[in-house]
Amino acid sequence: MSRAKRVMKELQGIKDDPEAKIDLQLVNENDIHLLKGAFLGPPGTPYENGKFIVDIEVPMEYPFKPPKMKFDTKVYHPNVSSVTGAICLDILKNAWSPVITLKSALISLQALLQSPEPNDPQDAEVAQHYMRDRESFNKTAAFWTKTYAPLNSHAEDKPVDQAELYGIDRALVNQFVSQGFAEAKVVEVLRRLGIKSMNANDNASANKILEELLK
């Protein structure tokens, strides 16, 4: 019973504090079980100017058990699955305490965007990118933010550049596309091999890519 009262109070609390720029709404007026939360990407990060929507499921035992949260918006971040939006954050698991609210959990997610923990990754491919080449990672993350989390929701309808989406050097993709391979296939192979860019005379890698493409 306490769950309903608590969730209603939390909703009111967020309404009373517009300064926090956190949004929380019931998906369905009569069901306190499912909510959607949203917050802005922290300034000074590749997530700046993005609006991130989080899918929230409040369990029966709430607030004694943590809510289940995952990103609805696609996020390029080491601790967030780039496919499912699943989040790796301790307070949503064993470090949960009943005093944590949905609002403070959302703020923690915002802080997670600010300071990733690549040593405890949710998405290994992204985490590797983050560790190896921060500049390229930031570019890709910013591109994802622009593509999937635009603040002004006039979503662009033009197709997404697949190479940019995975932080792969455009010239590298073009090199193989010009040889007659489909772009999607080239991107898929490069992702699988974990190659983002390549030295012009690195023949070993080029051969490996060709071999994979011809399989």
């Binding site: 306490s2 009262k5 209603m8 109070k9 607030p63 004694f64 305490s97 005093v99």
Partner: protein, 542 residues
């Protein structure tokens, strides 16, 4: 060797006795006293087998007639079996969780005077320190205040707020958001919530065995707090579950029984002996109070005659192969003529091999011609397993062969557990219906134990056979021993199906003899398998 003749009766002896040791890293070797009777018995055993590797073995006689020379006592035969050849023996005892907790308390008793605070508080500190008494003592002597604060036993800054249950007329709890709460709880930190929420919060955490702190900060709830909030002596539940951390820290001395729903803890008191086992290709098997037999080193169930390495390699291999293999075993059969795997894709049992065009019956694997046509149901099912596959060159086929046998015996063991429960009922029926004393019915559970141990040994003898050089004479003897144990086990298994209580009593002697026979065959097979390992005829490789 010094350790071979002692502690024999330790197992059967006083199970309530708790052995204390202060320093976890020190080893206590001298525990039990030498029992006159059992040392006498050992000398008897000594006659029939000496050193594991000092014999040139050409014949199987030593395994085959083991049962005739067997000394005349029953229980714990397998435990004694290896002792004779001067190999190490483990001194261990089985503790319940309560005894385990008493043991921890007794340890605390020795360090408590240093701290001069309550046991509950010391346990809180030890949990914080991962049960490392050394580290805690070191930090404690350096700065008591800091340890108390870091463990949540004291606030960093002094507070004039009182601790405990508070009474209000109208309190709004921030957890459940209910108003008009009368009773609340807070620690000195001042984070105050209603009793109901606190109760819920604590109950969820009682079995985790970790420190329960204030919901908002790291100040720890002490035992009196927990009891005041939840009642029912709940702090004891928490304290008891804290033994998990202790066992985890001291896992070279203590191990949980790995069997499902078994809460026994095995304590080994002479861990120096543990390192002696691999040399003899032996494994430190222990038996808990619920008669679960497992290996103290690798935590698997008893895997004799194989050693830990055989078990490890086999299990790894089985994990890799089993998904494929299970499917193949379930859905295909080999063509009886050419050996190609055939998947049955329809209901008809009249099969035609695609590769050699042999026509046969899916069920009995005999030529279709003899079926007289029209009958799609085979009545000629025969149980005869094909022999000779041991020699096959195809390694996957060889592996499949052994894996099949392994998993068959695994399934049988599971069924034997069920049989065990049925036997228990029979025993009770015997006591009630015929009025026989408890002691006289003990042959039944003893038989089932022999059966289960025999099956487990059989099961693990297949990995040993798999890794052994098939051309060697000793391997052949091993296989013969396997066959003997199989027939002994099946014989006993059949006898245990007898339902009528009068009949059971009438055949008591038969039960005894068959169980004994299984035990001796079991021991013979184990010894033979160990010989294979010692002589490097059986070499496990992944």
């Amino acid at each position: 060797m010094a350790y071979s003749v002692k502690l024999s009766d330790y197992l059967d002896g006083d199970e309530d006795s708790v052995i204390l040791e202060f320093e976890s890293d020190s080893e206590i070797d001298e525990l039990g006293e030498v029992d006159e009777d059992s040392s006498h018995s050992y000398s008897e055993v000594n006659e029939f087998s000496d050193g594991p590797s000092d014999k040139k073995d050409t014949g199987g006689s030593r395994y085959l007639d083991a049962d005739q020379k067997k000394p005349s006592w029953g229980r714990g035969l397998t435990e004694m079996a290896y002792e004779s050849s001067g190999v190490p023996k483990l001194a261990y005892s089985c503790l319940t969780t309560d005894q385990m907790f008493d043991l921890i308390l007794a340890r605390l008793e020795r360090i408590q005077p240093i701290f001069e605070i309550s046991y509950g508080d010391i346990i809180v500190m030890l949990q914080k320190y991962g049960w490392s008494e050394e580290r805690l003592l070191e930090d404690w002597t350096e700065d008591q205040e800091r340890v108390l604060v870091s463990c949540g036993l004291k606030l960093a800054t002094s507070s004039n707020r009182s601790r405990g249950i508070q009474d209000h007329s109208d309190f709004v709890c921030n957890i459940c958001c209910e108003s008009n709460k009368q009773r609340t709880f807070r620690l000195e930190c001042g984070h105050e919530y209603c009793i109901e929420c606190y109760k819920h919060y604590i109950k969820d955490k009682l079995l985790e065995g970790k420190i329960i702190s204030c919901m908002s900060c790291s100040l720890a709830l002490k035992n009196p707090d927990i009891d005041a909030i939840v009642g029912d002596n709940s702090s004891q539940t928490l304290m008891r579950s804290s033994i998990k951390g202790f066992i985890h820290k001291h896992n070279n001395h203590y191990k949980w029984c790995p069997f499902v729903d078994c809460n026994c803890v095995i304590q080994v008191t002479n861990i120096s002996a543990l390192s002696e086992f691999p040399r003899f290709h032996l494994s430190p098997f222990v038996v808990c109070n619920n008669h679960h037999r497992f290996c103290f080193k690798c935590g698997l169930e008893s895997h004799a005659p194989g050693d830990c390495q055989v078990a490890e390699v086999w299990v790894k291999m089985a994990q890799l192969e089993s998904a494929n293999l299970n499917w193949v075993l379930k859905n295909t059969k080999e063509c009886p003529k050419c050996g190609v795997n055939i998947e049955k894709n329809g209901g008809c049992n009249h099969m035609t091999c695609q590769s050699c065009e042999y026509e046969f019956c899916w069920i009995c694997e005999l030529p279709w011609e003899g079926h007289g046509g029209g009958f799609f149901e085979c009545t000629r099912f025969s149980k005869d397993e094909k022999n000779g596959a041991t020699e096959t060159k195809n390694s996957l086929r060889k592996y499949t062969f052994y894996y099949k046998l392994f998993s068959e015996h695994e399934n049988s063991s599971k069924l034997d557990w069920a049989l065990g429960l049925a036997v228990e009922q029979k025993v009770r029926a015997l006591q009630e219906n015929i009025g026989i004393s408890w002691i006289e019915t003990q042959f039944l559970p003893e038989s089932i134990r022999s059966l289960i141990e025999g099956r487990t040994t059989l099961k693990w003898s297949f990995p040993v056979a798999f890794y052994s050089d098939p051309s060697h004479n000793l391997t052949k003897i091993f296989v013969d021993n396997q066959a003997l144990l199989v027939s002994a086990v099946e014989d006993l298994s059949q006898l245990l199906q007898v339902k009528d209580p009068h009949d059971i009593i009438a055949r008591k002697l038969e039960f005894y003899n068959k169980a004994r026979f299984v035990q001796s065959r079991n021991r013979a097979l184990s010894e033979c398998g160990r010989d294979l390992l010692c002589k490097r005829i059986c070499v496990p490789r992944g």
